[in-house]
C-alpha cells in the first residue's frame, strides 16, 4: 500500500494576500474548489438556531445582484456543474465541481453569488419553509436511525452551542428574518475565516481570480464562540422516543470524549474503535456478537468522532471537523415486541423487544475490551487493516481536498499521512492503555426510537435492571451453539448504571 503515496497529491499552502490556500494540481477533467469557512451551527445566535446553515443554503439557492436563481439554473444546466454548501457544527464548506471546459464560464457566474448574494425574499421563504418541515416532520419520520443520532446529540450537548442540529430548531428557524441572513453572511462569511482549497486541472490565472475575489469578502473579524466541553452525564440517561407500530428500536449512545484528530492518543483509539466497531465492517466485535452470532439486526458499530450519513456511506465524508467528540455506539434497529409477536407464536407473551438485551451486550463487550484490551495478534491485524483502509478515504480529488481542509482545522498538515505514521509507531501497550483510559460504561446518554406499545414496559425494565433474556424465535434458537447461550446468560442480567429513563414523544424534540 506504500505505493499509494498520492503521486499527484502535491499539497502546499501559499500565503499570498494573507490567504490560506490548499492546492492539489492533478491530472483530471475537472476542477474542484472548496471554500472552508470557520463558522457553523456554533455561530448561530441564541434564539436563531439554524441561521448559519440557512445562510449557507441560500448562497446556493438564491441568486446574486446579476442573476436570479432561475437564470443561474439555466446557465449552469448544460455544464452539469455542481454547486452546494454544507454546514456542520464548526465549519461551512462551499464546494463546486465543474468540467475544465467550463471552469472560467462557470466561475464568472458563481463569483457573483459568493460576493453579492441576493438572498431574494422568495428564495428565503422557500428555503426556510423546507428547513422547518425537515426539522418538524421529515427527520423524525424518514429514518429512525438518523433521528436517534440527532436526538442523542441534543441530550449530550444540552446547554452548549453543539446541542441543536445544524439545520436548527423549529423555534429558531421561525424566528429568522431575511435581515438576519444578510447580517450573518456579513459577519461570518468573511475573508478572515476562510481557507481556499482547489484540486484538479486548473490554471494559476483561475486560482488568482478566486483569491482576489475571496479577498474582497467582508473584512469583519468573525466572533467565533469558544465551544464548551459537555459534562459527563451522571450514570446512564436514557431517552425513549415512541412511535406507533414500529417494527424496530433504533439505538444510539454517547459520552463525551476528550480527544480529537490532533491528540496524542488518537491513533491508539482509532485501533480500539476499529476493533470494537469499525463502520459497516463485519469483522468488528459488536457486529459479530449482535448481528453475526445472534441474528438481531443489520449491524453494530462504534465511533470516536461524528460520521456523516453512515447509513448511506461506507467511507467517511469531509467537512465536519469538530473540537468536541463523543464515543458512540450505533446499534441498528433490533426487533420490538410489536414486530416479534406478529411473527412468532412462541413469543406472543413478551412485553418488550430486544433493545435492552442489545444494549447490555454492547456494554458488556466494551467493558471487556476496557479491562482486557486487545491481544498482540488482534492489534497487529487491526493496525494493518487501518493503515490500508484509511488511504481509501481519499480516492477522488474531492475527498483528497476535503481531508486536507479538515486537517487544517485540527492544526495538522495532512491527517491521512500523519495518521499512518502514528499508526506505524503504535504499540499494543499504548492501544490498551487508551482503551482503559477512554472506554467506560457507567455514564452515557442513550436514545432509543421505539414502538409506542412497549415504551412504558421498556422504561420500567431499564430502570429496574430487570433481567432481559434474548427473545429468539424457535427457528433461530435451535441453530445456535452453546457458547452463545452461555454468554447470553451472563449478559441478560448485567447490571447497568441506569439513573434515569424519560419517554418523549417525537413532536417534543428539536423545538427550541
Amino acid at each position: 500500500m506504500k505505493k499509494l503515496v498520492y503521486i499527484f497529491l502535491i499539497s502546499f499552502s501559499i500565503n499570498a494576500l494573507a490567504q490560506e490556500v490548499v492546492e492539489l494540481p492533478m491530472e483530471s477533467n475537472k476542477v474542484v474548489v472548496k471554500l472552508a469557512f470557520k463558522n457553523g451551527s456554533v455561530t448561530d445566535p441564541v434564539g436563531k438556531e439554524g441561521l448559519t446553515n440557512l445562510t449557507a443554503a441560500l448562497l446556493s439557492e438564491s441568486g446574486s445582484d446579476t442573476y436570479t436563481k432561475s437564470e443561474i439554473d439555466n446557465l449552469l444546466y448544460p455544464m452539469a456543474a455542481s454547486y452546494g454548501t454544507f454546514t456542520d457544527k464548526e465549519m461551512t464548506t462551499i464546494t463546486f465541481q465543474v468540467h475544465k471546459d467550463f471552469a472560467d464560464q462557470f466561475y464568472e457566474i458563481i463569483r457573483s453569488v459568493l460576493l453579492h448574494p441576493s438572498f431574494a425574499e422568495q428564495d428565503f421563504e422557500r428555503v426556510k419553509s423546507n428547513t422547518l418541515v425537515n426539522i418538524t416532520e421529515v427527520i423524525k419520520a424518514s429514518s429512525d436511525e438518523e433521528f436517534s443520532k440527532m436526538a442523542l446529540e441534543e441530550q449530550l450537548y444540552a446547554g452548549t452551542r453543539y446541542a441543536h442540529m445544524k439545520v436548527g430548531t423549529a423555534d429558531g428557524i421561525k424566528a429568522i428574518t431575511r435581515d438576519d441572513v444578510v447580517n450573518q453572511y456579513k459577519a461570518y462569511f468573511t475573508r478572515n475565516n476562510v481557507i481556499i482549497g482547489i484540486a484538479g486541472n486548473y490554471s494559476q490565472d483561475f486560482l488568482s481570480k478566486i483569491k482576489t475575489d475571496i479577498n474582497s469578502l467582508p473584512d469583519t473579524q468573525p466572533d467565533i464562540p469558544v465551544v464548551e466541553t459537555p459534562a459527563m452525564p451522571d450514570g446512564i440517561q436514557v431517552e425513549l422516543v415512541p412511535k406507533p407500530n414500529n417494527l424496530g428500536t433504533a439505538i444510539y449512545t454517547g459520552y463525551p470524549l476528550a480527544i480529537n484528530r490532533a491528540s496524542e492518543d488518537w491513533a491508539a483509539m482509532m485501533v480500539v474503535n476499529s476493533y470494537l466497531g469499525e463502520h459497516r465492517k463485519s469483522y468488528s466485535k459488536l457486529y459479530q456478537l449482535i448481528r453475526e452470532q445472534r441474528s438481531m439486526n443489520y449491524g453494530d458499530y462504534t465511533y470516536i468522532e461524528w460520521y456523516q450519513s453512515g447509513g448511506s456511506n461506507q467511507l467517511p465524508l469531509t467537512g465536519f471537523p469538530r473540537s468536541q467528540n463523543y464515543f458512540a455506539i450505533w446499534i441498528r434497529p433490533v426487533q420490538t415486541a410489536y414486530s416479534l409477536k406478529s411473527q412468532y407464536s412462541e413469543l406472543k407473551d413478551i412485553e418488550t423487544g430486544q433493545a435492552q438485551f442489545a444494549l447490555r451486550m454492547a456494554l458488556n463487550e466494551i467493558e471487556r475490551v476496557k479491562n482486557e484490551g486487545l491481544t498482540q495478534e488482534e492489534f497487529e491485524l487491526t493496525r494493518q487493516f487501518l493503515r490500508s483502509y484509511t488511504k481509501l478515504y481519499i480516492q477522488t480529488p474531492d475527498k483528497q481536498l476535503g481531508f486536507l481542509l479538515d486537517s487544517k482545522f485540527y492544526g495538522l498538515n495532512n491527517y491521512i499521512s500523519e495518521l499512518d505514521i502514528a499508526l506505524s509507531k503504535l504499540t499494543l501497550a499504548e492501544v490498551n492503555a487508551a482503551a482503559a483510559k477512554y472506554l467506560q460504561t457507567d455514564n452515557m446518554y442513550v436514545t432509543m426510537i421505539t414502538d409506542k406499545g412497549e415504551a412504558e414496559a421498556l422504561k420500567n425494565s431499564l430502570l429496574t435492571n430487570k433481567v432481559s433474556p434474548m427473545s429468539y424465535s424457535n427457528v433461530v434458537r435451535e441453530s445456535l451453539p452453546e457458547e452463545v447461550f452461555n454468554l447470553d446468560e451472563e449478559v441478560e442480567g448485567l447490571r447497568i448504571n441506569i439513573k434515569n429513563v424519560k419517554v418523549i414523544p417525537p413532536e417534543d424534540l428539536f423545538i427550541d
Partner: protein, 457 residues
C-alpha cells in the same frame, strides 16, 4: 447564440475525452476497455487507470430480485448475497473475515432488481489475494444450515430499518401495484412474510447458488493500477476451473396495463408526496426510447424547466420536483415525483404535471433545450468517473444491462441524434393514462381523485 456555444463545446468535449485510437471505439468512456472470455464463459474486463497502488475488483452477477420467479421466494437474491460472506471449506466465516480485514480493502456487496454486485477497492498489490478469496467463495461456498438460519435475522433487520421510512413503504407499494405478473412487483428486499420465512429455505438457497453463481452469469471487472495480462492470468488461474452451469429461466411477462392504478401510504406529520409512474421501455442500446425519456426528464422537470420555476420557485407549492426512470433489463417505471407544501393541492399539481406531459406530445421542444439536456447528461457522466471504484461501478451497469461493458459508448451515443420529433413520439407512446400508477403519501386514509378533474388524455 447560447445554443452555438453549447454545441461547439460539446464537440470539443467528445474529441478530448476519447483516448482509444480506433475511431470506431470512440465514445463517452475515455479509457480503454480490455475484455477476455475464459473457456467456461466468464468474461474478464480490465481497465488500466492512473491510480498508483490502487485497484477496484468487481464481480457482477446478472441475477437480482427480477430472477425470483417462484412464489414465496422474494428477496432471495439479496439474502443470498448475505450468505456469500459465510465461509467456505477453505476459509471458515471467521477466517474469511480475518482475511478480508488483512487486505484492508473497502469491500461489500449489494443487490438490486437485475443484478448482484460484489466489490472490493484496495491495494493493487493485493490483487492476487482478492482473486483467491473471491474465486474460493464463488466456486466453493459452504455454509451450515444453522448459519443460514441465523443470517436471515440480519435481512429482517435491514427490512426493519428501511421500513421506518414512508418513502420505502411507498416504493414497495408502487411497484407492487404497477406490476401484477412480472417479478418487478416485489422490491429487492422482498415481501415481509417471505423475509420472515427465509430461515426455512435452506435447500432453496443451495439451488439458488447452483443456478446463478456460474461463469455464464458473471463478469469480473478490474480497474486501476493493473495490466490486462496480469488480470487475465489471475482470472485463468483462479476461475479457470469454474464449471459452466445450465440454468435458464423464463421471467413472467407483464400484461399490458389497461387503466390508471393507485398506490397510497397514509402518514401523518409528513409532507405530502405525489408520483406519476408510467410504464417505460426495457433498456436497449439499439432503441433510443429510454434515452429520449432521460432527456424529457431533464427538459421538462429539471431546475431549469418552466414547471419547476412556477411550482417550486415562484408559487412555492412544491418543495421538490424531479423526474426520471431507471435503466432496467425489462420494462420498468418512469416517474415524476413531487413533494408538496399543501395536501389540498394534490390534484392541481397532478394536473399541472399532466399538462406538461400532454404538451410534449403536441409541441416540439426547443432544439437549444434539447442540446443543453444532452450536454448535461454527458458532462455529468464524464465528471463522475474519477476513481477506479467509480469507473468499475459505471461499467458494472452496462454489464448487467447488456452483458457488454463496452456498450457504455453505444448507450451514450443514443443521445446524439435525438430530435424534437423523437420527443413527441415517445411522449405520445408512453404518457398514457392506462399505463399510469399514481403514488401518494398523505395523512388521508386513501387518495381519492375528484372525478371531474381526472385528466382525459
Amino acid at each position: 447564440m447560447k445554443y452555438k456555444i453549447i454545441v461547439i463545446t460539446l464537440c470539443v468535449f467528445i474529441a478530448i475525452s476519447c483516448s482509444p485510437t480506433k475511431e470506431e471505439e470512440q465514445g463517452v468512456f475515455p479509457y480503454e476497455i480490455h475484455q477476455a472470455k475464459l473457456e467456461n464463459g466468464l468474461n474478464v474486463v480490465t481497465v488500466p487507470y492512473n491510480s498508483p497502488g490502487l485497484a477496484s475488483f468487481y464481480i457482477v452477477v446478472r441475477a437480482g430480485s427480477r430472477n425470483e420467479i417462484e412464489p414465496g421466494k422474494t428477496g432471495f437474491a439479496h439474502f443470498f448475497e448475505h450468505m456469500m460472506f459465510r465461509g467456505t471449506e477453505k476459509y471458515s466465516k471467521e477466517q474469511y473475515s480475518e482475511a478480508l480485514k488483512a487486505i484492508g480493502a473497502a469491500a461489500n456487496a449489494n443487490t438490486w432488481w437485475d443484478r448482484t454486485v460484489y466489490h472490493m477497492t484496495g491495494n493493487a498489490g493485493m490483487l492476487d489475494k482478492m482473486f483467491e478469496l473471491e474465486s474460493d467463495r464463488f466456486m466453493n461456498l459452504k455454509y451450515s444450515e444453522a448459519d443460514f438460519k441465523v443470517e436471515a435475522g440480519a435481512v429482517k433487520g435491514e427490512y426493519t430499518k428501511n421500513y421506518s421510512s414512508p418513502y420505502m413503504k411507498l416504493y414497495e407499494k408502487t411497484y407492487n401495484t404497477a406490476f401484477t405478473e412480472h417479478t418487478y412487483s416485489h422490491t429487492t428486499i422482498g415481501f415481509w412474510e417471505d423475509v420472515v420465512d427465509m430461515p426455512n429455505q435452506y435447500e432453496y438457497s443451495l439451488e439458488f447458488f447452483n443456478r446463478f453463481y456460474r461463469p455464464e452469469y458473471c463478469t469480473i471487472i478490474v480497474v486501476g493500477d493493473v495490466t490486462p495480462d496480469k488480470v487475465d492470468a489471475l482470472a485463468k488461474e483462479y476461475f479457470g476451473s469454474w464449471e459452466h452451469g445450465s440454468y435458464t429461466q423464463e421471467i413472467p411477462k407483464e400484461p399490458e396495463q389497461t387503466e390508471t392504478r393507485y398506490a397510497h401510504v397514509q402518514e401523518k406529520n409528513f409532507p405530502p408526496v405525489l408520483g406519476l409512474n408510467y410504464k417505460d421501455p426495457a433498456f436497449s442500446v439499439e432503441n433510443k426510447d429510454m434515452a429520449v425519456l432521460d432527456v424529457i426528464g431533464s427538459i421538462a422537470f429539471s431546475e431549469k424547466s418552466p414547471i419547476y420555476k412556477k411550482l417550486v420557485v415562484d408559487e412555492r407549492k412544491v418543495r421538490q420536483l424531479d423526474a426520471g426512470g431507471l435503466d432496467m433489463v425489462d420494462p420498468g417505471l418512469w416517474s415524476v415525483d413531487a413533494v408538496l407544501v399543501n395536501p389540498d393541492d394534490m390534484t392541481e399539481i397532478k394536473n399541472e404535471i399532466e399538462g406538461v406531459l400532454e404538451k410534449l406530445k403536441t409541441e416540439p421542444v426547443d432544439s437549444a433545450d434539447l442540446a443543453q439536456a444532452i450536454s448535461h447528461i454527458k458532462y455529468n457522466y464524464a465528471m463522475d468517473i474519477d476513481s477506479p471504484d467509480a469507473i468499475a461501478n459505471s461499467l458494472s451497469w452496462y454489464t448487467w444491462l447488456t452483458g457488454d461493458p463496452a456498450s457504455v459508448n453505444k448507450a451514450y451515443a443514443r443521445y446524439d441524434n435525438i430530435t424534437p420529433e423523437d420527443v413527441m413520439d415517445v411522449a405520445k407512446r408512453y404518457f398514457v393514462p392506462q399505463h399510469l400508477t399514481v403514488s401518494t403519501i398523505s395523512a388521508d386514509e386513501e387518495y381519492v381523485e375528484p372525478e371531474t378533474l381526472k385528466t382525459d388524455m
